[in-house]
C-alpha cells in the first residue's frame, strides 16, 4: 500500500533536477563530447594487437574460441567469471569473418572491452540532464583519457564490461529512486542480471549503488527542481513489492539465461552461487594477490618504478571537490547518488584483501564521474548559483586583461583557469594512457601491467612458427609443452593454429620424447628434459613474465636447417 502511494505521488511530478546547464552551451558541450569520444575511441582501439596477450586474456580467448567453434559454453565455477564476455564477443567475431579459434586474432577479442570502454562515456551522457553539461563533459573527457580506464578497455577480460554495467546499475537504480516505476524496476533488474552474469563482484557494486540511492533519497536535497521532487516523494517508503518482484525476476532471468548457456546447462546458475564459497576464501585470504586496504588508492595517486612515473591524482582531487560539492546543502540528489556510490564502492573494494589492479574499474568509473561533478563545482564556486541552483547565464566578464581583477572578474576568470587546468590534466592523462597502452603495455614498470606476459614470449612463438614452416609437418609439427598451468598460458592462444600441441605439467608424464621436434619447458622441468634429450637437442631460453622463464628444446637437425636460413 505504501508503495502504491509512492507511485501515485510521484506520477507526473518528475522534473529532471537542474545542475548547471548554463555553464556550457549546447554547442560547446557537443564539441567537448565529440572530442572526448574521438579520444576515447582512438586510445582504445588503435594498436589493439600491439601488446602481448596476458595469460588471463589468452585463457578467456581460448574459452571463447570453443564457444565460437562449437556453440557450447559451460560455466566453470572454479576459475572463471561470468559468460557475458564470451557471448558479447560472438557478434564481433562473426562481423570480422572469424569463425574458428585459429582464425581469431587479438584485435577481434579486444574490440569488445574497447567498445564497452567507449560505452561508459555514453552512459555518462545519459546523466547530462541530471548532473549538468559541464559535469558530464568533464567526466567524459577524464574517462576518455584515464590510463586505468583506457588500459583495461584494451584487455580481454570482464572488467571493462563490468564497469559499464556497474554504472548502468547505478543509473538505473538512481532513476528508479527518482521515479519508481515498474519499467524503471525492470530496467534496473536487467542491468543487475547482466552485471551478475559478467562478474561475481556484482555483490559489491549493486549493494553500493542501492545504498547510495537509498541514502541520497533520505538526505534533504539542494535548491532547484529536485527539491520539489524530493519533497513529493516519500523517502520513507519501501519500493512496492511488485517492483521488487519484477526487478528481481528480470535480474534472475537474465543471469540464469547466461549462466545456463541459454538453457543448455541448467546447473550453471546454481554453480555461480556455489562459487561464492571460493570467491569468499579468495577475497579474505592471504594469498599472493593479497594487498593492504590502500593499495588501489596508492596505485592511482602515485606509482614510480624504473624511472617511469604514473599518476591519476588529478582525478582523485577533482573527485574530492565533487564529494564536497555533493555534501553541501546545495548538493543535488544525483550528485549525492554518484558521490555515495563512489565512496561506498571504493571502501568495499579496498576492504577486500584480494586485489588485482583491474578490480578498481567498477568503483573508479564512479570516481571519474564524481570528478566531473568536482570540475563543475570548481568552475561554479559557492554563492555563484542563484536560488534555484542555476549558474548565471552570462558570466560577469568585465575587463579580463586588468592587472588587478575585481571580485567579479576573478569569478569570471575562474572557469577559464579551471578549464586550462583541466586541459593540462587531460593532456597528461592522455599521454600516460598512450604510454601505458602502446609503449609500456607489457612493461613491468607499468602499474596496470600485472604479472604481464613479456614481449620476449613473442620471439618464442615466432621461433616455433619458423621451425614449423621448415618442418615437414608444418602446422602439424608435434610440440610438447611441459609446464604447470601458470607457465602454460598464454601459449595455447599463441599456438592455436598448430594442431598437435600437447600440455603436461611434469616431465614424467610428458614422455616419450622421441620424434618430438620442439619441446617447451618451465624451469623446474628443464633438468629432467636435459637428461632425457641429451645433446640431440639445442636449447634456448625465453622470458614468459618478469623473472619467469621458459626453455625451448629444438631437435638439432631441425635447428641446423633453421640456422642455414639465417646465415
Amino acid at each position: 500500500m505504501m508503495g502504491a502511494g509512492l507511485m501515485t505521488r510521484s506520477r507526473g511530478m518528475f522534473k529532471p533536477p537542474y545542475a548547471g546547464h548554463d555553464a556550457v552551451s549546447r554547442i560547446r558541450f557537443a564539441a567537448l563530447v565529440g572530442v572526448a569520444l574521438v579520444l576515447a575511441l582512438g586510445l582504445r582501439v588503435v594498436g589493439l594487437d600491439h601488446r602481448p596477450m596476458h595469460h588471463d586474456e589468452a585463457n578467456q580467448a581460448v574459452k571463447f574460441g570453443v564457444l565460437l567453434e562449437t556453440g557450447e559454453y559451460t560455466y566453470d565455477r572454479t576459475d572463471h567469471h561470468g559468460p557475458t564476455l564470451y557471448y558479447l564477443t560472438l557478434p564481433v567475431a562473426l562481423l570480422r569473418g572469424q569463425a574458428t579459434l585459429a582464425s581469431l586474432d587479438a584485435r577481434t577479442v579486444r574490440l569488445v572491452p574497447a567498445l564497452f570502454g567507449v560505452g561508459l562515456l555514453l552512459l555518462f551522457l545519459s546523466l547530462t540532464s541530471r548532473l549538468g553539461r559541464l559535469a558530464v563533459a568533464a567526466a567524459v573527457l577524464l574517462a576518455a583519457v584515464s590510463p586505468a580506464l583506457v588500459y583495461y578497455s584494451r584487455f580481454y577480460i570482464q572488467e571493462s564490461i563490468f564497469a559499464f554495467l556497474a554504472v548502468a546499475c547505478l543509473v538505473a537504480l538512481g532513476r528508479y529512486g527518482e521515479r519508481p516505476t515498474l519499467a524503471a524496476a525492470v530496467t534496473a533488474g536487467v542491468c543487475v542480471g547482466l552485471a551478475y552474469a559478467t562478474k561475481e563482484t556484482t555483490v559489491i557494486v549493486v549493494p553500493a549503488a542501492v545504498a547510495a540511492v537509498a541514502v541520497a533519497r533520505h538526505l534533504p536535497s539542494g535548491p532547484g527542481g529536485h527539491r520539489m521532487a524530493a519533497r513529493m516523494m516519500d523517502s520513507r517508503t519501501w519500493p512496492p513489492a511488485r517492483h521488487l518482484a519484477a526487478g528481481g525476476a528480470a535480474a534472475l532471468a537474465i543471469a540464469w539465461l547466461f549462466f545456463s548457456s541459454f538453457g543448455s546447462h541448467p546447473d550453471g546458475f546454481v554453480d555461480s552461487i556455489r562459487a561464492f564459497g571460493l570467491f569468499f576464501d579468495r577475497g579474505t585470504g592471504t594469498g599472493s594477490h593479497s594487498q593492504p586496504w590502500y593499495h588501489y588508492l596508492g596505485l592511482l595517486v602515485w606509482s614510480s618504478s624504473g624511472g617511469v612515473v604514473w599518476t591519476e591524482a588529478a582525478i582523485l582531487v577533482l573527485a574530492i571537490a565533487g564529494l564536497v560539492s555533493a555534501c553541501r546543502a546545495t548538493g543535488s540528489y544525483w550528485q549525492r547518488v554518484v558521490a555515495l556510490y563512489a565512496v561506498f564502492a571504493t571502501l568495499a573494494f579496498s576492504l577486500v584483501s584480494y586485489k588485482t589492479p583491474w578490480n578498481l574499474l567498477p568503483f573508479y568509473a564512479g570516481v571519474v564521474l564524481l570528478a566531473g561533478i568536482g570540475a563543475q563545482a570548481l568552475v561554479t564556486p559557492w554563492g555563484q548559483t542563484n536560488r534555484w541552483g542555476q549558474i548565471p547565464r552570462r558570466p560577469m566578464i568585465q575587463k579580463p586583461w586588468a592587472l588587478t581583477p575585481s571580485a567579479g572578474q576573478r569569478r569570471a576568470l575562474t572557469p577559464w583557469l579551471v578549464g586550462a587546468v583541466l586541459v593540462a590534466v587531460c593532456a597528461h592523462l592522455g599521454w600516460q594512457s598512450w604510454q601505458a597502452s602502446l609503449r609500456d603495455g607489457a612493461d613491468p614498470r607499468n602499474p596496470y601491467a600485472y604479472l604481464h606476459t613479456s614481449p620476449d614470449l613473442l620471439r618464442l612463438v615466432q621461433r616455433v612458427t619458423d621451425l614449423a614452416a621448415l618442418h615437414g609437418d608444418h602446422d602439424r609439427m608435434l610440440v610438447r609443452v611441459v609446464a604447470g598451468p601458470y607457465e602454460q598460458w598464454p601459449l595455447p592462444w599463441y599456438l592455436r593454429r598448430m594442431t598437435r600441441v600437447g600440455y603436461w605439467p611434469r616431465a614424467a608424464e610428458a614422455g616419450p620424447f622421441d620424434g618430438t621436434p620442439v619441446l617447451i619447458a618451465s624451469q623446474e622441468n628443464v633438468p629432467a628434459l636435459e637428461a632425457a634429450l641429451g645433446d640431440r637437442y639445442i636449447s634456448e631460453m625465453y622470458g614468459l613474465r618478469p623473472e619467469v622463464f621458459l626453455t625451448v628444446f629444438i631437435e638439432r637437425g631441425l635447428w641446423e636447417r633453421y640456422l642455414a636460413t639465417r646465415r
Partner: protein, 223 residues
Amino acid sequence: MRIHTAVVTILTVAMLAPLQAGQGPEKEELKLKLPKPMFIGTPTNIKSANLEVVTGKSRGPFMVPIGTKLLSAKRPVKSSDPQPVIGELEMITDGEKEGGDGYFVEIAPGKQWVQVDLGASSALHAILAWHYHSQARVYRDVIVQVSDDKDFLKGVTTIFNNDHDNTSGLGIGKDKEYIEVAEGRLFDPKGIRGRYVRLYANGNTSNDLNHYVEIEVYGTPVK
C-alpha cells in the same frame, strides 16, 4: 768440463729467452668498484644450454697488465638512438653503477647500439657492461666490438657475440647468453687495440627495450 758447463748454460738461456719474452708484462688483479646487488640471490634454477651457468657466486679475480687504467671514464658516448627514452647517454660512462632508478639509460626497442669513444687507440684488457641489474633478466643478442673506425666499417674486431641465430645480421655468435647481475659482465678483449668500443643489444627477456647502467673499458694507452 768448464767449456761443457758454459755451452749448456748458453743453450739453456737461448732456449728460455723466447719463452720469457712471450710471457709479456706482469699482471695484477683488476680492481673494480661494484654496486650493491638489487635483488636477493641469483636465480640458480634457471638453466639452458645457451645460458651461462648461474653459480650464484661472484666472479673470480681478473688479471690485467700492470698499468691498466680505466679509459672510459667521462668519455663521450654515441648511440643508434641519440635521444634516450629515459636518462642521458653520458650516464653510461659517469661511474655510477647502482641498479636503482635514475642510474640507467633506456634506449629504443629492437637492435640498438651504444659506442664509447676512448679518445685514442689503446690496448684493451677488460670491458665491463651493466645493462640493468635490479631484476634477473637476459639481454638479447649482445655483441661487443672494437675498432679504430668510428663508423665500424673497417678494422672491426668482435670480442663477444651471443646472437646465436644471427638476428642482428652481424654473424652467428658462439658465446652464451647471461643473466644480468650487480657485478656486471666482463668481456676479455685480450689486449686488442682500438679507440671505439661498441655494444649491441636487442631487448631483453622482460621487455623489448635496451638499457645501460654503465660501461667500463680498461686498457693501456698505446705510445
